[in-house]
């Protein structure tokens, strides 16, 4: 926003009051809650020389954990984007018995303590569990205590993000646009692909980013179902905890720095993609 030029004479008086108060509050709050703790992580890591730092963060066991943490988080976010879209579509566009219950169920992963979710998932997908017995017993596909188990847990906790970001946009989407497309001869698929999806892409990316960010940092629900086998199903947050339990604080913060930088880079990339797509389609003029 640019301040109106005419107001420059009067010491940039604004129409909306409270600018200084809100900005000041925002900065103090963000510093206390986000910036200072994050900086502390970096400072703590400074105890190590750069060479030592590289050694700590590049052991094979850690490299395997990065792959799993970020790989599974990306895949889980992608799965959630796809099925979250379907869910949001069904919830907004159709009315069916029990719709309110389904809508409330979506929030369950938000509300459930993660450890409870983790134990529930582990029990369900273990060899003797309801689903585990089907997958493992009949299909010979192990889920619990493998990387697939990690993926299942991350999909579970990320689901609400996509659904809840898409729902309001879908509700606002005029059905007239689809009617217009149909009257111009577009098929159902063409209408979705060229008219509906472009409108949904920005919220879909936001939901994806949120689900991804949550999944990268997830601990409680994952460790029970992951089995935590070194080099196979260990996630990075687990290794951080392990370090902490051994009183190796510098080692723990080193890993934290890696996660921070990675996550930040990913989110930045997603944001850039978003603004690029917005510019391309003239939403920011």
């Amino acid at each position: 926003m640019t301040a109106p030029a005419a107001s420059a004479h009067h010491g940039a008086r604004r129409v909306l009051p409270g600018f200084r108060l809100t900005l000041g509050y925002t900065l103090v709050y963000l510093s206390l809650i986000v910036l200072i703790p994050t900086a502390a992580v970096f400072l703590r890591t400074m105890d190590l020389s750069f060479g030592e730092f590289l050694d700590v963060i590049s052991s094979p066991r850690l490299l395997a954990s990065y792959r799993l943490s970020f790989g599974a988080a990306l895949l889980a976010a992608a799965i959630n984007a796809l099925f979250g879209l379907l869910l949001a579509w069904a919830l907004v566009r159709y009315s069916f018995p029990g719709k309110k219950i389904v809508d409330a169920l979506v929030d369950l992963p938000f509300a459930l303590p993660t450890a409870v979710a983790g134990i529930a998932l582990a029990t369900l997908y273990a060899r003797n569990g309801w689903l585990g017995s089907i997958f493992e017993g009949l299909l010979g596909f192990k889920i619990a205590f493998t990387p697939w188990g990690v993926l299942v847990a991350l999909v579970f906790i990320g689901l609400p993000f996509v659904v809840r970001t898409l729902q309001p946009i879908l509700e606002d989407l005029e059905t007239e646009l689809e009617e217009a497309a149909a009257s111009l001869g577009a098929s159902r698929w063409q209408t979705f692909r060229h008219v509906v999806l472009p409108v949904l892409t920005p919220p879909l990316m936001t939901g994806f980013a949120l689900a991804f960010a949550r999944a990268v940092g997830e601990y409680g629900s994952v460790i029970f179902i992951a089995g935590n086998i070194p080099l196979v199903s260990e996630i990075t947050p687990l290794l951080i905890i392990t370090r902490l339990e051994q009183y190796d604080y510098t080692g723990a913060t080193s890993l934290a720095v890696v996660m921070l930088v990675f996550s930040f880079a990913m989110l930045l990339l997603i944001n850039c993609l978003q603004s690029w797509s917005a510019k391309r389609t003239g939403r920011t003029a």
Binding site: E174, E176, L177, E179, A180, A181, A182, S183, L184, G185, A186, S187, Q190, H194, V195, P198, V199, T281, G282, R283, A285
Partner: protein, 358 residues
């Protein structure tokens, strides 16, 4: 292309939107569906387009029953009140949309699409906006783009749903004239929905008046205006003054006042509604006059070619409001004052039997 709808019924829950509607639209004509909101006019248009399904009845396009055909296959161009432009596409892409969505075999190549889009943008006089996005256009420009987009697929019929409803008065008037001109160039069968009687009378070849899901009257603008078939049509097509009266020999008895009127066609003693347009009333200032209805002047509005006088009824007409339209000069001569007692004398009355609904 000619369109027939026959015996269309449509309900939404317990609300009857269309009640046995049958109409003929001739090839190449521009027809207005006119009526108050909720009269079913938009529903009828959407059923013709195939955006809505009738509960019963048929839509016949060029002699062929299209009731079961999808909107995609009906080859109708539809223009929405709120434009329904694709916001994430440029004006060019919006207009090209219909052409690009054609099945691969029928799809023109990029060069001919571009040529066609530019020709259409020229037609709506907005070629210089091809690279803009809809959010950067004014309402009138958006609606013209929407029209160009609908025309791109060479529809056999053009259906417009309150096309100028969201625009301000001046742009409305401009676009109205422009639409008429465009229709005279293209001669595509067009139906447009409006609740604005001036718009309907000014633009259309024929006007269909609708009320409560039924057709009240169909005719040319002159015919429906000069010979309204029902009290509803009379009331809807302009300002009216209404009297409740009883027919007696050669006069109409309105309360204790009598008004001279040729009572042709009505039996003596019949209860009637009598209508007069504002310009069909004259004001008598003579305090000794006994003819006409007693009224008192409320306000005189003198701007424009003619002046309007607002009056309240007195005596048996108490509680009623009247409006009289007079030439400026005449109002000056009468020198009316607010509160002044006068009498109103209709020069022409249109009578409807009281039992008719409305």
């Amino acid at each position: 292309m000619s369109i027939q709808v026959s015996h269309i019924h449509k309900r939404f829950g317990s609300f009857v939107a269309l009640d046995d509607v049958s109409l003929d639209f001739h090839a190449g004509e521009l027809v207005a569906l006119l009526g108050p909101s909720g009269c079913g006019k938009t529903t009828l248009l959407r059923i013709i387009a195939g955006l809505e399904q009738a509960d019963s009845g048929n839509v016949i396009l060029e002699g062929e029953d299209a009731s079961e055909r999808h909107v995609r296959e009906r080859q109708v161009g539809f223009v929405f009140q709120h434009y329904a432009l694709f916001k994430h596409m440029t004006v060019f892409d919006n207009v090209a949309f219909g052409l690009r969505m054609k099945p691969r075999g029928q799809r023109p190549d990029d060069a001919s699409i571009a040529a066609k889009v530019h020709a259409l943008l020229d037609l709506v006089q907005l070629d210089w906006l091809a690279d803009r996005f809809p959010s950067q256009l004014s309402g009138g420009q958006r609606q013209r783009i929407a029209l160009a987009r609908a025309l791109a697929v060479e529809p056999r019929v053009l259906l417009l749903d309150e096309p100028f409803g969201a625009l301000d008065a001046k742009v409305r008037k401009e676009l109205r004239r422009w639409l008429r001109k465009l229709h005279d160039e293209l001669h595509i069968t067009s139906i447009f929905v409006t609740h604005d009687q001036e718009e309907a009378l000014e633009v259309a070849d024929r006007v269909v008046l609708m009320n409560h899901g039924r057709i009240e009257q169909v005719g040319t603008p002159e015919a429906v205006y000069n010979h309204p078939a029902t009290p509803f049509v009379y009331g809807f097509l302009g300002s009216v003054n209404l009297f409740h009266g009883r027919v007696e020999d050669q006069v109409l008895q309105v309360g204790d006042a009598s008004v001279p009127h040729a009572t042709g066609g009505f039996a003596s003693g019949a209860e009637v509604f009598a209508f007069a347009r504002p310009h069909e009333l004259s004001i008598l200032t003579d305090p000794n006059a006994t003819e006409g209805l007693a009224a008192s002047v409320v306000r005189v509005l003198s701007f424009g070619v003619s002046s309007r006088v607002e009056l309240d009824g007195r005596g048996s007409a108490a509680g009623q409001h009247f409006e009289v339209e007079l030439p400026q000069a005449e109002v000056g001569k009468l020198a009316l004052q607010p509160g002044q007692h006068v009498r109103l004398l209709p020069s022409r009355l249109r009578l409807f039997e009281r039992s008719t609904p409305g």
